[in-house]
Symmetry: C2
Subunit: 328 residues, 2 copies
């Protein structure tokens, strides 16, 4: 309730001096400084953020739009990004698109209205009008984990090719020939890149190139379970299954357990995306660990670079394989 005028009055200084002390923007005499700070403390003064933003034409806030905060990948990323932003004096506003284009647009509208200084965006699909509007306003934007067709923005995400390479090496080392692949939608860059890397690298790693072993869901558990069942229904019997993201792997696992029992009939499961609990699953799941925290931190740093007027270099974060196969 107390304004800076009240503080100035109580400290017996002018409005300007009080502002200079409280925002630390310019030199002030030690005595003024002391009295202003004392007055502010006594009154419990808290600067009015919106007024400050109005005057300074910046909000010191970054927006983060993720497709689903319940997805552990994104909650980890959000957490890391928030820490990094906070460390640099920025607040992080989080919005949830709920895997829905309308909600995503809605969130972008809110961000635009809040006048965020920059945006971390995990795109749902193609560019939307709201996104175009933000681009037109020259709001700095970086992309997370998925690319947008036709829009060239700094990108921070997993190195899909390298990650799939690790999986292929592992499959070969374990001697798997008949491997099922449960993919994601080709319309997402993640789905497309992983599929391309896997399908293109199979032969060189001694894996059968039978198309009956390949199907795709929509990166949801349910979609992936259905895809896995379709594969099994074709009468093929893989010795290993590769899920193209975390939810996909869970769906495949569910289908395998339904069909083949709690140990999935000895089928080995390997995943792009790691969850901690994969260690406790039956069967244990080997996974490529997608470093969400590194992506979040890198993206914030890139965005901050853009805000300083420098340019940001895209990063593909390398993955590492967590091998949980039962060894004899």
């Amino acid at each position: 309730m107390a304004t800076i005028k009240d503080v100035a009055a109580r400290a017996g200084v002018g409005l300007g001096t009080a502002s200079r002390v409280l925002s630390g923007s310019a030199q002030t005499s030690p005595s003024s400084r002391e009295r202003v700070l004392a007055a502010a403390a006594e009154l419990g003064y808290v600067a009015h953020g919106p007024a400050r933003s109005l005057r300074r034409a910046r909000t010191d806030a970054l927006g983060l739009l993720v497709s689903d905060i319940r997805n552990p990948f994104f909650s980890e990323l959000a957490h890391a990004a928030e820490q990094e932003a906070r460390a640099h004096g920025y607040a992080l506003l989080l919005a949830n698109a709920n895997e829905d284009a309308d909600q995503a647009d809605d969130a972008l509208r809110t961000f635009a209205s809040q006048r965020i200084d920059g945006l971390l965006l995990s795109p749902q699909g193609p560019a939307t009008p709201q996104l175009a509007s933000l681009l037109a306003r020259a709001v700095p934007i970086v992309l997370l984990n998925r690319r947008i067709e036709g829009v060239d923005l700094p990108f921070y995400g997993t190195d899909n090719e390298q990650g799939v390479g690790l999986v292929l090496d592992w499959l070969q080392e374990r001697g798997h020939r008949d491997v099922a692949y449960v993919g994601g939608p080709q319309t997402m860059s993640t789905g497309a890149e992983r599929a391309r890397a896997y399908l293109g690298g199979r032969a060189a790693h001694g894996i059968a190139t039978d198309d009956a072993l390949v199907d795709a869901g929509d990166f949801t558990t349910d979609g992936a379970a259905a895809a896995m069942l379709r594969i099994l229904d074709r009468g093929v019997r893989p010795t290993a299954v590769f899920g193209a993201n975390g939810a996909t792997t869970v769906g495949a696992l569910r289908a395998l357990r339904e069909r083949l029992g709690a140990d999935a009939g000895g089928v080995e499961v390997v995943s792009f995306d790691d969850f901690d609990w994969f260690a406790y699953a039956s069967p244990a799941i080997t996974a490529v660990r997608n470093d969400a925290a590194a992506i979040g931190v890198g993206a914030v740093q890139g965005l901050l670079a853009l805000l300083r007027g420098e340019d940001a270099t895209s990063q593909r974060i390398a993955t590492e394989l967590v091998d949980r196969a039962a060894r004899s």
Copy 2:
């Protein structure tokens, strides 16, 4: 970049009329309305949120402070709360305390500066100066899942007593006598309430009241694993283990698997807090499902009631048991 003045000028109306149309606050003639909306669309006008907040002395934003967004309970809750808030025209600002009192205070300071209209708070511990400051400003606040000593605020959380009752019934039905309990910190209301309900109800459900079977961690995986190991080291051999929250159960599971093998030596595990993947764990974990979404929605509704000047009634959300025990 376009302001409401630009819109008014282009539409050939006065400033006031433009504002009235765009904020829908009062009657305007159809012709004005039409021209203002057209002008706004042509200019790509987006209202300046901070300016609006400054003038209206409200932000239409609610703050949500959780202890750790990576905790699935909170990400689920955050998601549900955001949907509910959005449906009522409020934005939800999310902040992460990272289980750390300083960061929590920092986040509260930011919220205060942003002039949020209301706060959903999952407290870390006792009341802090920043919280007192918010209370003094008469910012409406509701509490999530944990209470604060000495502060009487509307509360939305799990019905711990009822949930523990379900677990006790299940343990009795399964014929367990020697049950280990891995609890949480007594300084948190959740830890204390669950411990009280369990310890007090044991005898009536035919469970041994041997204190060697009881230990406590700090609601983290590592702390719980250590507690579980302490119990096993006492030479007791329980037939079932009850973990007082999700992370605790995971820690106990880890310790059991380390000591007794991948099937935990046949020990049955039951948890307060359910994770979807418990179905795929080895051994499968029975759990009391904590309805995070219902808590989030209820809390937002309560907060909105406070904002309307009504008063909010605390809610204890009932849990349900998800029985995943292997039946013969």
